[in-house]
Symmetry: C2
Subunit: 264 residues, 2 copies
Amino acid sequence: MDCINKELCIIKEGVSKNLPYQINEYGKLIRSKIGLLILKMYGVNPGEEHLKFLTAIELTHTASLHHDDVIDNETTRRNSQTINSLKGNKLSVLYGNLILTNALKIILSTDNTILTKHFNETIQDMCKGELLQNSQLYSIPSLEDYIEKSRLKTASLFKMVGLGLKILSADIPQSMIDFTENFGIGFQIKNDLDNLLTTKTDIENGIYTAPLIYSGGTKITEYGIEKTKALIDNYIQKGFTYPEKERDNQYKKELIGVMQCLKN
Amino acid sequence: MDCINKELCIIKEGVSKNLPYQINEYGKLIRSKIGLLILKMYGVNPGEEHLKFLTAIELTHTASLHHDDVIDNETTRRNSQTINSLKGNKLSVLYGNLILTNALKIILSTDNTILTKHFNETIQDMCKGELLQNSQLYSIPSLEDYIEKSRLKTASLFKMVGLGLKILSADIPQSMIDFTENFGIGFQIKNDLDNLLTTKTDIENGIYTAPLIYSGGTKITEYGIEKTKALIDNYIQKGFTYPEKERDNQYKKELIGVMQCLKN
């Protein structure tokens, strides 16, 4: 990922400056990676506004983790203890709020009203997704409700990457909005599968996801795992249809590489 | 308060439409009352933008209560059980977030960039105030730190009422920004005094406020109470100096009436 290293450094610096504490681990920065590769794939040189925007996306993601950790009683994240388990729910809620206002401040500094409105709607969709998940606890939802929850809770912020880049740069095609949204749905399903194959904290918390929906109960089956993998593949395939054939450059290859992380 | 009844009804309707649950009790709506009376005192007829703005102020206040209840483990509020004690911290955090995005959506719908930026900064100040309070827990702060915390945590949203009305209407003088901020500080000190004279939950939660600062320990003294009352009077007096003498109309009288609620 050398081709976007410089930009990722600037985004990390922006994230670090807008957190109320020191961090050593920035996470995967997958939303920024996708955003930068999309820009470069379409021949747009990432400028100050793009980097500000992607920094705000990462901050929003971080803010949502702080609140999710309170909501889901998570104790570890990115191989470290979560803020809520280290310093209590109070600080986790407050830090989440503060980081979110910092993200909005960055977005507001672009003076782009349309971008700001969509950004706020995205945060709203993320809340609605969490609320939907909360209403489904300890019951196996329909696949449709599960996908809708994943779309709102997780894919909305991925979709905002595509949408925001399109708002900022006319060269980015409409199709990138669907591409980022589909990637986001696949990303959430992959996360859910990984959880069930490792810590299984989702089951403890009453969050019953794709593998259990396919397994038809709270005991995961081989069939459930296979069907979930096929579902993820389906979202990857949807993604592959978007980046245009004529854009066969190194950035498209890198983007496909990022998408491979959804594969086992 | 008959003179602003019509406008208060519209604000209540707006609040109700933007909450994810039914409410019967709107609270005192003190921020809106002050805002409407300031407008009328200066001869401005409250229009759609003013009412939208005040609705967003009330929603932001409500959102902050949802988060504060989680932060302070409150079980009752406005004579009813709090959302966090009824439905858990999860829903309280999520509802707070959702209500806040609704408030921002209303502000964004005014297409007033300056108003939106100040609004976001206000939310940020409220977070900073809560963080400052959190850093002072179980220790008696200096009076200066206590006032600074109250200014950020509570008075910032009151100040935003004055500031927002000034941004929306040139007829509102600059002095109303200081007026609303001072009122907000007095309002918080009065709340703190009432808490120590009734439930004393602040002491349990390690929040040591003006009466204890003056008492010099966690046992409240008569001296501490008297000094706190004098401090509140001081902020009321500061307020009284602002509404201009020539504005001696019924609205000024009503505004002074609202300020009397800070008196015992």
